[in-house]
Symmetry: C3
Subunit: 139 residues, 3 copies
């Protein structure tokens, strides 16, 4: 068994932005010689997350709206009182949604469903240069 730790770089526009990274992660998997194992996709940072979704514009809008239910953008945050970043809601959302997602792979392919894509979600309020860690473990 081997571990391969790689990075994907993306520039985001800020606000809630849902970005399909399925192909990029599958490409890294294809380039590895690993057939069966576990892919961990991890965001080093505290205002973004990764998850899976049926990637279509309707659901992207629905997710954006539902995030406002968990931590409203217009709410009061102690973090903003102290740091004046205006992203207290981004931090709360990211802590609840967590920084990683784990997806088994088999036959050198992510075991995603037909209508299931892997997405990075930018939760911060301003554009960011993001690094996403993709760790493949298996043989």
């Amino acid at each position: 068994m081997k571990t391969k730790t790689q990075r994907i770089l993306i520039d985001t526009s800020g606000g809630v932005q849902v970005i399909d990274i399925t192909r990029q992660v599958q490409k890294l998997l294809a380039e590895s010689d690993l057939k069966e194992g576990l892919a961990t996709i991890f965001v080093p940072g505290s205002t973004a997350t990764v998850t899976t979704i049926e990637y279509e514009p309707g659901l992207v809008a629905d997710i954006t709206k539902a995030l406002d239910r968990i931590a409203p953008r217009d709410g009061h945050y102690e973090h903003d009182q102290r740091w004046h970043d205006g992203n207290g809601h981004s931090h709360v959302r990211a802590s609840f949604l967590k920084p990683s997602v784990t997806i088994p792979f088999s036959n050198n392919a992510l075991m995603l469903g037909t209508w299931q894509q892997l997405v990075f979600i930018e939760l911060d309020v301003r554009p960011r240069n993001r690094t996403i860690v993709v760790q493949l473990m298996g043989d």
Copy 2:
């Protein structure tokens, strides 16, 4: 170290349905020759999830009710406007709760607490034939 990727098949009734799969996963672990490692339980699909819970009828009812707070069944969803599946809320809930859960094992047993069961949660509105991926990695 080895990786064993297996599947559990279950038929669900739709709606919010919480199903205890602890025994089935523990059985797969017992049948493997792996003593120490990581179990990843993953749902290929975008309208279901897996997590842990103290499995008793009261909490199952409480979870069902609380899911309606994150993404109300009676809410308006763009997904439903486009696809008319009536499961926009199912998708939002599944994306927030994510498709996998990771549980370490030791001495050939999942390291769950005494009152902690592993559950699959059907979030879709209609009955489904579900495949759950159970990947055991360790030695």
Copy 3:
């Protein structure tokens, strides 16, 4: 590749309590001879969770407040009707936030962002003696 499964013990005060465990996990990693791999931090129990957060008092307060939006402490819970623990909301929160977080490591260091700490969150209403499982897998 090797698997090392260890435990951290902490005494909590109950209520929502957010505890930074980054140093303790990094210390276990430093003591291991593992350079590259995956750290899984797991809570055996159904009323606590682990995640990452920018650990500062403002956000700790914001998280505490936002948890009340997912499952209000003052709400009605079937679990409490049956078991009279008064922690139905703790269970719901823990099931939604899940019992584990997975963080890749490289060069014998967790790949966390600069402003990202690993935290244990006590969600139960009373003080607890908690065991947290830290499983390091890699080489």
